[in-house]
Every structure is written in structure tokens, then in C-alpha cells.
């Protein structure tokens, strides 16, 4: 059977190569998506595991080790603990680079909370050695054995390079972290950080509650949990990472559809052959089995090659991205498992898609298969009626005028393309998915662009903030291009229960979601002046839930209390931010001046509006977007997107040209016949154009609809745990995709028409 299958594949060598290329192309997408998606999705867990990241990190003012350890070791659910002394804003320099924002971390005995990826760790009691964070080593090109000069400690030798996923990497994080041993201080050093590992990390809140109680009086205290760290990391990269992961998922689904569609089309094309086999006495099972063997032989090498190539294509950008996040890659063996699994998945999909229609078709009476291939499914009566209404070529509906002639030929082309419903549908589906993915790519790209400049993408919906006399707000509202103008109060307060926990209060009179719309994670929006929406970071730090009370100490004012209505996902100020209505705030601080924030129409000119505002006497204030540190990071992300996008783009191009050439090839006989009856090149071109348009136009429309209705919202939703992201394609982008598709269709038509016209007519006739 295998020999038969090989012979069959060899006999239709051209089609085999074409089908294999299709599988290869889709596998390329799968390979890139799986590599990026898997590396990123598992990155934090994997690195946290390897680095033994603690479940809770507590920061406090320096304490005697004995005193703090007595309290910590009494905590419930505690597995083990260790301590650090962290000095911030230290001068660190090496290899010609310098920063004044060094975080010099003195590690005490016990677990470190980082993993050494090169060289060795500093030994307890060893002096003169330093471990540097990988981000610093990469950025400054430091290697094991190099020298590094660290404030107070002088020149130290780099003994190792470490990774800890408790923050993003330098220079994305502005602090350059290095680790030294306690001996560096001659042993005279007191910790200000405690690392806690718990027996049951799910019960961290119990431990935290107890910790808050027993450490009361230690002064300013900060906890961050492992989940909190994950959120912190996400603040820098989460949006785009989840976009990438989501994009990969969508690309996977798209590749699957394409595979299934093309395998299905191939079987449709070969129905006649199946009919002959049935007539020769083969059973449906036998035919399906043979089909399965053929599909397997074709799919295994193509899928393996495509997935490997795809993985290689994005391996570097994915590694860069992980490095920027202080995370570890899965390594060749780690990524091998998902890659092998996805190869198996692709093969299974191809085999199923090729075998199922063969099995179904083979069970029909042989003569039915033989007589009409996939055209023969309509009952006679219906076909007749179709014939009557068949318009374009019907005598009565089209009087014999030259204009009608052209449209008739065009319509014939449409008929060529759509006659075999299954094939047409497969081609349209494939190209539609591609067009949808390309549209999504464009939307993503412009989102990345906006992320750098436009705060709206991270939850803010206003574009301009000014200092302006509130009485002039109605005038500002009347400026052309202005959608909404409002007052915004913002003040940094402190939590009264745990003095020192900084919180930022943001107040809008009325509905704040008009200007700032952080996605709701839990609970509901505020409705009354005594309610508050708090950021996840703050809820995590203060142990807040809907229904609990937030008491804020206002500088130069009294204490005001709010009831937590909802928890929202906010990025600003590490999520230590809360939204309220201004009434209570103004009662205790009547002197507070609001900012005036301006929301623009989507297509208005910010510069013109700014000018108008300045004329009103406004003073411009910056609106914080993604931090400037992120520019480099966004560049890395863009590189990853480009890697994935390149693969997807190639696949789309291939799919389109393939669908059109296959349609033309399928109709070789028909084209030859037309030529035999005297059709010249323009006539044949017109027919082919009809065929191309019949595929390209519905595909373009379906593709755009797919993006707007499914891909965009799906990716946004998947990424929405961090912020609300507008991922709908713009009119320009949609026009670009549709126009591009039509252009490609025209190009494919031209190429195919030229090739067809060069071929001898009888060659085409023989095939029919």
C-alpha cells in the first residue's frame, strides 16, 4: 500500500509538490507561532521555577537579622526564608559603561532567588566577587572574569551571570542589579528584604495577613507576591506579549483552516479517480486508507520541515524578547516537545482532511462520482432550474450585443471558479483567513506604534492634558476635532492603615470611563462619591476586595474613606492607583486644582487642537504613555512580530497565487477549448479575471469581516487582562488589504493567462 501510495504521489508530481508546499507553508506559521507562543507563555513559570523565585518578597527598613528572623520564622505556611540587603541608586560601572541607578544586592545565606546562567554564584564569605544580572551583562558586554566597579566595594570580578524574573531586565528596567556576598561588608550588614517560600503558595494571603500583623511597627513595609511580580512584569510587556501569544493562537487556527481546506480541495479534484477505483471494485474503506497513507507520506516531511524552519525563523527574536523580560528560553529540548506535538497535529489534520471527504465520496454510487465529479451532486430538477436562470450565457436574458459579450465571458470565469463548490469554498476560506491575519497584523503594527505615543492604548482615552481655567472648558469643547473635555484631579496619598503605602487617587466629576477606562477585573464601576475602583497592584498590596474599605491619608488634608466597588487592571504607578469622584477629596482639599483633559475625535489633528487650546490660554502638560525605556523593548517586540508576520505574509501570498493558479490549471481544458473555438489572449484573460475575482473578492470581504468580528476581538480579549486595546482595523488598512488582494489577483491572472496562452492547445484538450 505504501508503495502504491508513493507511486501515486510520484505520478502526480506537480500536484504533490504543490500540496507539500501548502503543508510546508502552513507548518511554517505553526512553527513560528508555537515557538513564540510557547516560549512566552511558559517563560515566567519556567524562570521562576529555575530561579526559585520566592512566593513573597517583603521590603522593610533595615533590621537586625535576629529580630526580623524571629518574626518571619514564626509565620504560618512558611517553608523557608532568606534575606538580602538592597542598596539602590548606587554607582556601578564597567567596560566603559556607567549607571547611577545600580541596585547592589547583598545576599545572605540560604536560597538566592536567582539562577546563575553563566560562571558561578558568589560564595558566602567570599569577597571581591560579584554576580551581575544578565541584562546588564548583555547591555555592557560583560563576561565572567571581567571587572566591575561598584560604589563602596571598589573593583570586583564578575564570577557569574544571573537571571531572576522578579523584574524585567536592564535596560528595560532602569536599575542595574548586581549581587555581592555578605563578606563584602565585613559581615556588618543588616537585611532590608526578606524572601519567603511557602508550603502552599495558594494560601499566600494567610501568610501575608499574619505578616502584616506581626511586623506592625517595623515601619514602611512592602509586600510583593509572586503573582504580583508576574503582574509587574506584565506592566512592561504584558500587553504586547499577550498580543503575541493571542496572535500566535489565531495564526494556528488560520493555518489549520488552510490545511484542511487545501487537503479537501485536493480530494475534490481527484473524485473521478476515486470513481474509477470504486468501479474497479475497491471498497470505500480501502480507498480512504490509501488516501490516508498518501496524505501521511506527504504531510510528515512537509510538516516537519515547515515547523523546523518556522521555529528557526523566530528563535532569535523570541530569545531576545525573553532576555529582555529576564526570562529563560525553553532550550532546544524544551521546545522540541511542543514542536513534535504540533507536527503530529498538522499531520493528523492533513490526513483527516484528506481522508474524510474521500471516505464520504467513495461511499456514493461509483457512477455518480464518475459522471460529474463534484459537480454532480445537485438533483436534476434543481440543475434545470439553475440552467434556466443561468443568465449570463442564456439566450433570452442577454441580447446579442457586444457589451453583453464581455460580461458573459467574465461571468463564465466566475462560473469556472465557483462550479466546484467545495474547491471554491476552500480557496475562499484559505485566502479569507490569510487576508484576515494580514489585516490583524496591520492593526497590531499600528497598535505597537501608538503604544509608544498614545496613552489611549494603555487605558487612557484622552490625548491632551492642559492647565486651563475650568470656566473655559465650554470653549475648549467647541474647538473642532475635540470630542470631550473634562476635569481630572490627581493626588498621591498614603494608605492610613499601613502608613507609607503610596496610592494615587484620580478623580473625575461624573463618569471617569469617558477619559480613563481601565478594564474591570472584579466587582463593578463606582457610582457614588463614597466608592472607589482600585488597581490590581494596590488591591494586591493592601489586601483589598470589593466591599472592603480604603482609607487614604491626603497630604495637607484629612483622611477620607471609600468603599471598594471594583478592582481594575491598571498599569500606571505600578497599579497603585484608584479612581474616585472628587466630592470627598475636594471637601478636605478645597484648594486642589484640576487638570483639564481633552479627548480628540479619532481622525482629528492633535497639533491643530493644541494650537486652539494654547490660544485659549492653556498650558500643555505631558500625558504619560509607555515609558521611554520601553522604546527598545518595543523594538524587540516589533522584531518578533515581524518574524511571525513574515511567515504569515509568505503563506498568504502563496495561498492566493496557489488558489488562482490551481483554478486556472483545473480549467486548462476549458481554456484550451475556448482557444480552439478561436478565443484570443484578451478573451482568455477576461475569463481568468472572472475566475480570480470570484475567489479574491469574497475572500477579501470575508477576511476583513473575520478580522473585525473574530480575530481582532479575540486577540483583544486575550490581551485584555492588562488593558483595553482597540484592535479593529482602520478603513485605510481595510482598503489596503482589499486593494492588495485585488492587485495580487490581477497579477496572478496575468501570469496565468500568459502561461496558458503559451501552451499548445492540444495539451490542454488532452487533459480535459
Amino acid at each position: 500500500m505504501i508503495r502504491d501510495a508513493l507511486a501515486a504521489l510520484r505520478a502526480r508530481r506537480g500536484r504533490t509538490v504543490l500540496a507539500a508546499l501548502g503543508v510546508l507553508a502552513a507548518s511554517l506559521v505553526v512553527g513560528t507561532s508555537v515557538t513564540v507562543g510557547y516560549s512566552l507563555a511558559t517563560g515566567f513559570e519556567r524562570s521562576a521555577e529555575r530561579a526559585q523565585l520566592p512566593d513573597v518578597i517583603a521590603r522593610f527598613p533595615e533590621q537586625r537579622l535576629r529580630r526580623i528572623d524571629a518574626r518571619v520564622s514564626a509565620l504560618p505556611n512558611l517553608e523557608t526564608r532568606s534575606y538580602r540587603f538592597e542598596a539602590l541608586n548606587e554607582d556601578v560601572s564597567g567596560n566603559g559603561h556607567y549607571t547611577g541607578k545600580g541596585a547592589v544586592t547583598t545576599v545572605f545565606e540560604g536560597r538566592r532567588g536567582y539562577t546563575v546562567v553563566d560562571g558561578r554564584d558568589v560564595r558566602d564569605g567570599e569577597s571581591g566577587a560579584v554576580v551581575v544580572e544578565r541584562g546588564v551583562a548583555r547591555e555592557w558586554d560583560l563576561h565572567v572574569g571581567d571587572e566591575l566597579s561598584v560604589e563602596e566595594h571598589g573593583t570586583l570580578r564578575v564570577s557569574g551571570i544571573a537571571v531572576s524574573p522578579d523584574n524585567v531586565a536592564f535596560p528595560l528596567a532602569s536599575t542595574a542589579r548586581v549581587y555581592v556576598s555578605r563578606a563584602e561588608h565585613g559581615g556588618r550588614v543588616r537585611p532590608n528584604v526578606a524572601l519567603l517560600w511557602l508550603n502552599d503558595p495558594d494560601k499566600a494571603d494567610v501568610t501575608l495577613a499574619q505578616a502584616r500583623a506581626v511586623t506592625f511597627g517595623l515601619g514602611k513595609l512592602q509586600f510583593i507576591t509572586r503573582t504580583g511580580v508576574e503582574i509587574l512584569l506584565s506592566q512592561a510587556a504584558g500587553i504586547v506579549i499577550s498580543l503575541l501569544v493571542a496572535f500566535s493562537l489565531v495564526a494556528l487556527v488560520a493555518a489549520g483552516t488552510m490545511l484542511a481546506a487545501s487537503a479537501h480541495a485536493e480530494v475534490q479534484r481527484r473524485l473521478t479517480g476515486l470513481g474509477v477505483q470504486r468501479a474497479l471494485g475497491f471498497g470505500p474503506g480501502r480507498i480512504a486508507a490509501q488516501q490516508a497513507v498518501e496524505a501521511t507520506l506527504l504531510a510528515v516531511p512537509a510538516a516537519a520541515l515547515g515547523i523546523t524552519l518556522g521555529a528557526l525563523l523566530v528563535a532569535r527574536p523570541a530569545a531576545e524578547l525573553l532576555a529582555a523580560l529576564n526570562e529563560l528560553g525553553p532550550g532546544p529540548t524544551g521546545i522540541a516537545v511542543p514542536l513534535v506535538l504540533s507536527t503530529a497535529g498538522v499531520v493528523a489534520l492533513v490526513v483527516a482532511a484528506a481522508t474524510w471527504p474521500a471516505w464520504r465520496a467513495a461511499r456514493r454510487p461509483p457512477i455518480e462520482i464518475l459522471r460529474g465529479g463534484d459537480l454532480a451532486r445537485k438533483p436534476r430538477g434543481r440543475a434545470r432550474r439553475r440552467g434556466e436562470s443561468s443568465g449570463p450565457l442564456g439566450h433570452k436574458s442577454h441580447p446579442n450585443e457586444p457589451a453583453g459579450r464581455g460580461s458573459g465571458l467574465f461571468a463564465l470565469g466566475v462560473r469556472f471558479a465557483t462550479a466546484a463548490r467545495g474547491r471554491w469554498f476552500a480557496a475562499v476560506a484559505t485566502i479569507a483567513v490569510c487576508a484576515g491575519v494580514v489585516t490583524l497584523m496591520l492593526a497590531l503594527a499600528s497598535l505597537l506604534e501608538r503604544l509608544r505615543e498614545d496613552p489611549g492604548t494603555v487605558g487612557k482615552r484622552y490625548q491632551l492634558a492642559v492647565q486651563l481655567d475650568p470656566s473655559l472648558i465650554p470653549d475648549a469643547e467647541r474647538l473642532p476635532g475635540v470630542r470631550d473635555v473634562g476635569e481630572r484631579y490627581s493626588i498621591d496619598a498614603a494608605d492610613s492603615f499601613r502608613l507609607g503605602e503610596p496610592i494615587r487617587l484620580v478623580a473625575y466629576p461624573g463618569d471617569h470611563t469617558r477619559f480613563e477606562n481601565p478594564p474591570l477585573a472584579e466587582g463593578r464601576r463606582i457610582q457614588r462619591p463614597n466608592e472607589v475602583e482600585v488597581g490590581v497592584g494596590m488591591a494586591d498590596a493592601l489586601g483589598l476586595k470589593p466591599g472592603s474599605t480604603l482609607a487614604a491619608q491626603i497630604p495637607d488634608g484629612g483622611e477620607i474613606r471609600f468603599k471598594v466597588a471594583g478592582i481594575v487592571r491598571a498599569l500606571e504607578n505600578d497599579g497603585r492607583i484608584a479612581w474616585i469622584q472628587p466630592d470627598k477629596l475636594l471637601a478636605t482639599r478645597p484648594d486642589l486644582n484640576p487638570q483639564v483633559v481633552v479627548r480628540l475625535d479619532s481622525n482629528s489633528n492633535a497639533a491643530a487642537v493644541t494650537e486652539g487650546l494654547v490660544e485659549l490660554g492653556a498650558e500643555l502638560q505631558p500625558v504619560g504613555a509607555a515609558q521611554t525605556d520601553n522604546a527598545a523593548f518595543l523594538a524587540v517586540l516589533a522584531a518578533v512580530l515581524r518574524g511571525v508576520g513574515l511567515a504569515v505574509g509568505l503563506v498568504c501570498l502563496y495561498a492566493l497565487v496557489q488558489a488562482l493558479t490551481v483554478t486556472a490549471r483545473e480549467r486548462r481544458g476549458a481554456v484550451a477549448l475556448l482557444r480552439a473555438t478561436g478565443a484570443d489572449a484578451p478573451t482568455v484573460g477576461l475569463v481568468l479575471a472572472g475566475a480570480a475575482v470570484a475567489v479574491a473578492v469574497p475572500a477579501a470581504i470575508a477576511g476583513v469581516v473575520l478580522e473585525l468580528a473574530i480575530f481582532g476581538p479575540a486577540v483583544s480579549r486575550l490581551a485584555a487582562s492588562f488593558a483595553s486595546l482597540p484592535l479593529g482595523a482602520s478603513v485605510g488598512q481595510i482598503a489596503l488589504v482589499i486593494g492588495g488582494l485585488l492587485l495580487l489577483a490581477a497579477l496572478a491572472t496575468l501570469l496565468v493567462a500568459r502561461r496558458v496562452m503559451r501552451e499548445p492547445i492540444i495539451a490542454g484538450l488532452r487533459e480535459e
Binding site: 459522471r371 460529474g372 465529479g373 459537480l375 454532480a376 436534476r380 440543475a383 434545470r384 440552467g387 434556466e388 443561468s390 450565457l393 442564456g394 439566450h395 446579442n400 459579450r405 464581455g406 458573459g408 465571458l409 463564465l412 462560473r415 469556472f416 462550479a419 481544458g669 476549458a670 477549448l673 475556448l674 482557444r675 480552439a676 473555438t677 478561436g678 478565443a679 484570443d680 489572449a681 484578451p682 478573451t683 477576461l686 496562452m757 499548445p760 492547445i761 492540444i762 484538450l765 480535459e768
Partner: protein, 222 residues
Amino acid sequence: MAAVIAATGVVKSFGEGRAARRVLDGASLHVHPGEVVAILGRSGTGKSTMLHLVGGLDRPDAGTISVAGEPVTGTSERALSRLRRRRIGFVFQFFHLLPELSGEANVLLAGRVRGAAPDAAARGQDLIDRLGLREVARSLPHQLSGGEQQRFAIARALVNDPPVLLADEPTGNLDTTAGAEVLRLLRAGAEEGRAVVMVTHETAAANIADRVLTLRDGQLIG
């Protein structure tokens, strides 16, 4: 009267190098208007090849061919298209109707090609009536019998009123009755002043011919 088909010294080989085979080796054919010529010969001797060359579907290696006074050899693809459109009608052994078009639409198709005869559509309808196909005009090819399909194919060949009709084993896939009907139609085509060349294996077909030629060793022998 001048021959409407004039082919002289036609040479055609297939393959290259040592595998090359000279199928036609100086074949000549002259047919006058109103004449039916049958070409006989063993399978694989090159009968279809000769017909294709005369019809401008393929180009010979050597020799000259002209149809209705226009050159078929040594001319442009565009001129060949025009020739096929207005001067030549083809009938094939396997009918070659487009499967997605009804019989009627297949007939009218030839009249829709750019530069076809202006009255083609009217003649097509007329042919459908005359060939007794009105009943099944709206059926798709796979719903038609072989004889019906071949009659549609003949109607299609005649729709531009060409002076030359070329038929390659037009009865090869039909039973005796259907075959006889097809032969009658070809004969009728000749009565209207056309030159008809028919490749066949069957004596019945040869019987209606005015002249029977045999293709042997690459030459047409009277």
C-alpha cells in the same frame, strides 16, 4: 474550384533526440467546398495530429497549410485565433462540453468569444432547434446522453458558420443510431457548402464520405 483546405508536405515529429518520432512525413491534403473527406488509418498513425495541424491547434515542423485562402502556417497566434473563430469548426471524440454550462450555453459560448460572427447567437438557437435539442437545451452535460452531447458539440462547431468542419472520430463514442444521426448532420453541413474532414475507424462513417484517404507511414494516400 479552389480547395478550401490546402495542406502540402506537412511534417510533424514528437519527442527529441533519439526518442524523436516523425509522425507525419510529408502528408498532403486538399479539400473542396461541399466535400466530405474521411481519413482512415491504424491507431497511432497520426490522424488526430493531422487534423490538429489543419485546424491550427498545433504547428507543423515543415510544410504549408492554408484554410479558406488564409495561411495557417507561419502566421501569428492572433491570426490563428481569428481563423479558428471564423473559418474552422471542431468536433471532438470526447465532445469536450464545459461541464458547468448547459448544452445551450455551450453552443452559445463560441458566439461570445471576442470577434465571433455577429449573428452567432441567433444561429445557435436555430441549430439547437434543427438538431432536435430544444428539449434538453438547459441540461448540464453530465445529464445528457453521448449522442446529445455530440449534437451540441456539432451545433457549437457550426455556430460561427465556418467554411471548414473538422471532426475527430465524432462517432467513436456513440452507438449506431446516434452515430448515424451525427454523420447525417456532418453530411448536411457539407451540403451547405462546407468542407468536412472526418477522422474515423468506422466503415459506416467512411461510407458517407466523398473521398476516403488512409494515413500510412506519415503520408495521406488516396
